[in-house]
């Protein structure tokens, strides 16, 4: 999968992941990386951007195995944005499919 395509949907994936469960930077990277290979350095600016746009907040959480970690949690605004992004993605996905005439999907 090309990096350009990945980058476009990375925000959506991260936001969705955080909506399910709060997490910290490296953990988010590892989870995403397990499904699609990305470089660590692309994920951090995205997290920063989410915080800056008030889609996420951070809090410190004690860890059983080390110092406290900075956890990310979606905000209400983040939830709304996620819904919009998901809707956009489905539309986009269908549009692209219809254009390239994929047979595996209808």
């Amino acid at each position: 999968m090309s990096t350009q395509l990945k980058k476009g949907v990375l925000e959506l994936c991260v936001l969705n992941m955080l909506d399910n469960q709060d997490s910290y930077g490296y953990d988010i990277y590892q989870e995403v990386n397990a499904k699609m290979i990305i470089s660590e350095s692309t994920i951090y600016p995205i997290l920063r951007k989410l915080v800056k746009e008030d889609l996420c907040t951070t809090y410190l959480k004690e860890s059983t195995e080390g110092p406290p970690r900075k956890y990310f949690r979606t905000t209400e605004l983040g939830n709304k944005k996620l819904e919009v992004l998901k809707k956009n993605w489905v539309e986009f996905y269908q549009t692209v499919n219809s254009m390239i005439g994929s047979e595996s999907n209808e």
């Binding site: 490296y26 470089s39 350095s41 951090y44 600016p45 951007k49 080390g66 970690r69 900075k70």
Partner: protein, 473 residues
């Protein structure tokens, strides 16, 4: 690479972000290291997992929409540094410009003093002068090396400042230009001459030794004392040269060309032409006789055949200050000269009992005195200095001067004689001057003209002047 190195390098690579953004990104990586130990990993393991700071920076900057390509990325010009730099420039140029003017002057000055020393030492004997020449030359070589080093240091500082300007105004981007600026060097230019290092070291060491030795020698050479140059210690020599080889006839033309010479022309009852030279520094003179037109020329022989004397003549001539040069020309009274032409720059000129066709006196700054002489055509040309003519007879006389007084007494002449005086300032006194056509041209200064014989009638009298009084009788 250690963790700290990694962080500081990342910090540097991310310098296009503002501090807050940069710290946030870095904190992610610091967390990674912090948690590593609890995951059972070493610092090195983490470093292996991570991309290089350069790659991280490129990705991060891309996320921020910044093209991290080193040659084209935009640099934020920091207004504060720009203003600081401008202040610095004003401060520097306030002393740099005078220095830039002074340095070449100092170089030229050192050259003149180098030459000037020769001029002074030419009053000394050959040996001390040679010691001075060698010592000064060695000193000058060392001086030039020091200049080279000083220029190099100045150049390096200038290059640093120029590069600093480029950095502040255009960003830390133009490496090729910087390298170009840095690559210029006087020392490198000098090295391009390909003078072997050995020769340079030998030259420097030899010069230092020579300076040392000549300085010591200077203490032991008596003639080196500058006091000996003073006029107190100058002894006067009389040298009499008698010219007998030349056919002294009525057709003789006698010409002198001197820079510094007091010339006295007299006649003698002897039948030989005699030249007497009195001096305290032997600047010498030479006598040449042109058989074809029977011309005897007496002139300076300061351009000597000795090579070292010529070297010492590079500088200004101090002859006028310290030396006495007198020449007495004694001509047999029986002969009439075709032409007498006396020319010098300084040194008074005196002519007595001249008898002949043309009399020409040409000088710059000295007095001219003419007594008891007979001539047909005479011209006297002076820039400054007084002119005194008495008891003489001539057909035409023209006097040309700028400043200085003109005094004519008891001059007689045949009919249709002309007297013309051309002066800018200075008084003119004419007493008993019996010449038919008189023309006086001056700008300022008084004119007195009176003849005892009131019956003498002039053909024409023209006086052209701007200020000053005229009295006439």
């Amino acid at each position: 690479m250690s963790k700290n190195q990694f962080i500081s390098e990342l910090n540097k690579e991310l310098n296009l972000l503002n501090k807050e953004e940069r710290n946030e990104i870095i904190s992610f990586y610091e967390d990674r290291f912090q948690n590593a130990t609890f995951e059972g990993k070493t610092e090195q393991d983490i470093l292996n997992e991570l991309e290089s700071p350069k790659d991280i920076a490129r990705n991060v900057l891309n996320e921020y929409g910044i093209n991290s390509n080193a040659e084209t990325r935009k640099h934020r010009i920091d207004l504060l540094s720009v203003f600081g730099l401008i202040w610095f420039d004003i401060l520097v140029s306030s002393w740099l410009i005078p220095v830039a003017i002074t340095v070449p002057l100092a170089l030229a000055g050192s050259w003149f003093s180098y030459i000037g020393v020769f001029t002074v030492f030419k009053f000394l004997n050959f040996f001390p002068a040679l010691v001075a020449l060698v010592g000064m030359t060695a000193g000058y070589i060392i001086y030039l090396f020091i200049i080279l080093i000083a220029l190099e240091i100045g150049l390096k500082v200038t290059q640093k400042v120029v590069v600093w300007h480029i950095t502040v105004f255009t960003g830390d981007t133009q490496r090729s230009l910087k390298n170009k600026i840095d690559s210029f060097s006087f020392v490198r230019l000098f090295k391009k001459l390909n003078i072997p290092k050995k020769i340079i070291s030998i030259t420097i060491v030899a010069s230092l030794v020579v300076i040392f030795v000549t300085s010591i020698a200077a203490f032991y050479i008596e003639d080196f004392s500058f006091a000996s140059i003073g006029s107190n210690n100058i002894s006067t020599y009389d040298v009499e040269t008698t010219v007998t080889d030349y056919e002294v006839s009525d057709m003789l033309e006698l010409v002198t060309e001197f820079e510094n010479m007091e010339i006295t022309y007299i006649t003698t009852s002897d039948d030989k032409l005699t030249l007497t030279h009195v001096y305290n520094y032997d600047n010498g003179y030479k006598v040449t006789h042109n058989q074809a037109n029977n011309t005897l020329t007496i002139s300076d022989s300061s351009h000597s055949s000795n090579w070292y004397e010529n070297i010492f003549n590079w500088g200004f001539n101090f002859n006028a200050i310290d030396t006495v040069q007198k020449l007495t020309i004694a001509v047999p009274s029986s002969i009439e000269l075709e032409k007498l032409s006396l020319s010098n720059v300084y040194g008074n000129t005196s002519v007595t009992n001249f008898k002949g066709e043309d009399l020409i006196i040409d000088t710059v700054s000295s007095n001219v005195e003419l007594n008891d002489s007979i001539w047909n055509h005479s011209s006297i040309d002076v820039v400054s200095g007084d002119i005194y003519l008495a008891n003489s007879n001539g057909e035409s006389l023209s006097i040309d001067s700028i400043s200085g007084n003109v005094n004519l007494e008891n001059i007689t002449s045949p009919d249709n004689s002309n007297l013309s005086i051309d002066l800018i300032s200075g008084d003119i006194t004419l007493s008993n001057v019996y010449m038919k056509n008189v023309q006086v041209d001056t700008i300022s200064g008084n004119i007195d003209y009176f003849n005892d014989d009131t019956d003498y009638v002039l053909n024409s009298l023209e006086i052209d002047k701007i200020s000053g009084s005229i009295s006439k009788s």
